[in-house]
C-alpha cells in the first residue's frame, strides 16, 4: 500500500488519536511556503500513540508487524515542542509508515509502547535519557547509553555541555 492508501485505511477504521498527515510538497512562492521533501508521515496525539500503533499492528490491511524505531527530535532551540517519531514496517504487505507525535517540552510524557512491541523497550530508554521524555508504564526505565548519574538530556538543542565529570575537567 502507498501512503495515501494507508492514510485512508487509518481514517476509515477510525484509528485512535489520528489528527492529520503531512506529505512532501513543492515550494510555493506566493504563500512563502518553502516546501519539503522526503517521507510522508501521519500525525498522532501523543496520549493515544500506544493505542494507535496497536491498531496498526492488528489491522488486517496494515499488518505493521515490525517496529523499526522509536525516537525523538528537538526541532529548534526556541521550539516549545518535542517530536516523537515512530517507524513501522509491514513484512507481509511491504510498506512502511512514519508516525509523528508532537508533545510540549514542558510536559513531555506519553504512554509506553512496550506492551504492543517489545522492540520499543530499549529505544524508549534511549529516547528518555537523551530527550527527557517520560514513557509512562515503561517496565525498565533506566539509562541505557549514558551513566546512571548523568545530568541533563544531551540531545536537546539547549543542552549545555558539562564542565567537569567526577572531578575530571572537560574543558
Amino acid at each position: 500500500m502507498d501512503f495515501q492508501a494507508i492514510h485512508d485505511r487509518l481514517q476509515s477504521i477510525g484509528a485512535p488519536g489520528l489528527t492529520g498527515s503531512d506529505e512532501p510538497r513543492p515550494a510555493n512562492k506566493e504563500t512563502k511556503d518553502k516546501g519539503r521533501g522526503g517521507t510522508p508521515f501521519v500525525l498522532v496525539e501523543p496520549a493515544k500513540l500506544s493505542d494507535f500503533v496497536r491498531v496498526c499492528r492488528d489491522d488486517a490491511d496494515l499488518q505493521m508487524d515490525l517496529m523499526i524505531d522509536i525516537t525523538a527530535s528537538d526541532p529548534a532551540v526556541d521550539s516549545e515542542d518535542l517530536w516523537v517519531l515512530v517507524q513501522l514496517l509491514s513484512t507481509t504487505k511491504r510498506h512502511r509508515l512514519m508516525i509523528k507525535a508532537i508533545l510540549p517540552k514542558a510536559n513531555a510524557s506519553l504512554p509506553t509502547c512496550v506492551p504492543v512491541y517489545r522492540a520499543a523497550q530499549w529505544n524508549e530508554r534511549e529516547c528518555a535519557e537523551m530527550f527527557g521524555i517520560t514513557f509512562e508504564g515503561h517496565p525498565d526505565p533506566r539509562n541505557i547509553l549514558l551513566p546512571d548519574d548523568w545530568i541533563g538530556h544531551p540531545m536537546r538543542k539547549d543542552y549545555e555541555f558539562p564542565k567537569e565529570y567526577h572531578g575530571v575537567s572537560c574543558e
Binding site: 522526503g38 523499526i68 522492540a119 539509562n143
Partner: protein
C-alpha cells in the same frame, strides 16, 4: 535468594521436584537443588562480547536465569555530532558505527540524504559500483562474523582462513578508495572515485576464487560435527519473539522468515537484479536442530556470502561506462524536509532519519542500528539456557558494539 524470574516471567524448569518411574520399575526422584543465584559479569573486556560490552548474567548453578546487557562503553554521540557538522562532514562518522560494514553505512546515509534531494540523479555506473562495494563489504563482514563465531566456541583454524579472504577484499577496497576499514567512499550523489584499470576484472577473479573457498568454510566449520553439537538446538529464537523485538536481517531469516529489504522493498538496482534471478534469499530451515537456533542463524550468513558473490557478478556483467557522481557542490545545502530510509546491512536494517531545514547542517540525524535492536532479544533468549552456551548465543547475534552504542 534473589528472585529467579526475569522480565518475561520465564522460570527455569529444573527447580521443580518430580518423580518418574523407569521401565525397570524403579522410581527416580528429581529434587530441587537450586542454590542462591550467582551474578557473573561477562565483559566489559570479555573477548566474546566483540567490543566493549558487559552482559550481567544471573545463574543458578549452570543454568542462566537472567541476562542483562549493559551498553554505552563505546558511546561517541554520533547523533549529536550529526547535528553539528555539515552533511558531507558527517560521512566519516558513519564509517564508525558498524566498522565491519563501513561501505553499507556510507550507503545508508547517502541514500537518506539523497531522498531529500529529488533533483539529484545518480549515474548508473555509480549505482553499480555502490552495489559491488556494498556486497563485497557484506562478504567481508560475514567472514568476520563466522570466523569469530568459530573462534568464540573454540574453532581457531577457520578464523585464519576467513581473514585470508577478507584481506583480499580489503586490498580491493584499498585500490579503489585508499582505505582498508573506514572508507567514506560512497558519497552523497555517487561514489568518490572511479574503479582503477583492472579493478573490475580483479573483482571477477575474486568471485571465482571465493566460490571454491566457500566450500572450504562450509565443510570445515558449518558441517563440523563438534561445531554443530555446540550450536544446534541452542539459543532458539521463535519467529514470534523475533517479530516482537523488531529483529531484522540474518537473525530474522535464521528463524525461517523470508524477508530481505533487497528483495521485498528494493532500492538501487536490487529489484532489477532479483528479477533477473541474480540472487536468492537464504532462510533458516532447522536443518541440524530446531528452527531458529544458533546454527541456523550462522548458516544463513554462510549462504548469504555466496548470494552476495552472485550479485557482484551480476553487477560486473551489467556495468557500463559513465559518470560516477552527480553534480554535487562541495558544500551541500539539502532542501528542507524529513526522510527515513532503511537499507539491508549485513546485520539487519540500518535506518537513517534525517531532518533538514534547508541549511548546511542537519537538524536531526537519527541512526537506527541493527545491532542495537538485535541485542535486546538477549534478555529473553538467554534465560533457561546453560552458562556454557551463553558465548554461543551472544556470538550468534553477531553484534558490533560500535553500532549498539553509536
Amino acid at each position: 535468594m534473589t528472585d529467579t524470574t526475569n522480565q518475561s516471567g520465564h522460570k527455569p524448569s529444573i527447580s521443580q521436584e518430580e518423580v518418574r518411574t523407569l521401565p525397570s520399575g524403579e522410581t527416580e526422584h528429581f529434587f530441587d537443588v537450586s542454590t542462591s543465584d550467582l551474578e557473573v559479569n561477562m565483559g566489559p573486556q570479555h573477548p566474546a562480547t566483540h567490543g566493549v560490552m558487559r552482559v550481567l548474567i544471573r545463574c543458578d548453578g549452570e543454568l542462566v536465569t537472567g541476562a542483562q546487557p549493559h551498553l554505552g562503553y563505546l558511546h561517541r554521540c554520533a547523533e549529536k555530532i550529526g547535528e553539528n557538522v555539515e552533511w558531507l562532514q558527517y560521512l566519516p562518522y558513519t564509517d564508525r558505527y558498524d566498522y565491519l560494514a563501513a561501505m553499507n553505512n556510507n550507503l545508508g546515509y547517502s541514500l537518506a540524504v539523497e531522498a531529500l534531494m529529488p533533483a539529484l540523479e545518480i549515474p548508473r555506473r555509480a549505482t553499480l559500483i555502490r552495489m559491488i562495494c556494498a556486497e563485497l563489504n557484506r562478504v567481508a563482514s560475514h567472514l568476520v562474523a563466522i570466523g569469530t563465531y568459530g573462534l568464540d566456541i573454540g574453532a581457531i583454524t577457520p578464523f585464519l582462513y576467513c581473514f585470508r579472504e577478507r584481506e583480499w577484499i580489503q586490498a580491493l577496497f584499498e585500490k579503489i578508495c585508499g582505505a582498508r576499514l573506514t572508507y567514506s567512499f560512497i558519497r552523497i550523489g555517487g561514489v568518490f572515485n572511479d574503479a582503477p584499470p583492472g579493478w573490475l576484472e580483479e573483482c571477477g577473479h575474486f568471485c571465482d576464487v571465493f566460490d571454491e573457498k566457500w566450500q572450504e568454510y562450509h565443510d570445515l566449520l558449518a558441517m563440523n560435527h563438534i561445531f554443530i553439537k555446540r550450536t544446534a538446538d541452542v539459543g532458539v529464537m521463535p519467529l514470534k519473539m523475533a517479530l516482537d523485538f523488531g529483529i531484522t536481517g540474518p537473525m530474522l531469516r535464521g528463524s525461517g522468515y523470508d524477508f530481505d529489504l533487497r528483495k521485498d522493498m528494493p532500492y538501487m538496482a536490487y529489484g532489477e537484479a532479483y528479477e533477473a534471478g541474480a540472487f536468492d534469499i537464504p532462510v533458516g530451515t532447522g536443518q541440524k536442530g530446531t528452527l531458529g537456533d544458533c546454527w541456523d542463524r550462522f548458516y544463513v550468513r554462510v549462504e548469504e556470502m555466496r548470494e552476495s558473490i552472485k550479485l557482484v557478478r551480476w553487477c560486473l556483467d551489467n556495468i557500463e561506462d559513465g559518470d560516477i557522481i552527480a553534480d554535487v557542490p562541495k558544500v551541500i545545502k539539502v532542501p528542507a524536509g524529513e526522510a527515513y530510509v532503511g537499507i539491508e546491512n549485513p546485520r539487519g536494517e540500518l535506518g537513517h532519519y534525517v531532518h533538514s531545514d534547508g541549511g548546511k547542517v542537519a537538524v536531526r540525524c537519527r541512526v537506527v542500528g541493527p545491532s542495537f535492536t538485535n541485542l535486546a532479544v538477549l534478555e529473553d533468549m538467554m534465560p533457561g539456557t546453560l552458562l556454557a552456551d551463553s558465548v554461543a548465543i551472544i556470538g550468534s547475534t553477531d553484534i558490533v558494539v560500535g553500532e549498539t552504542d553509536r
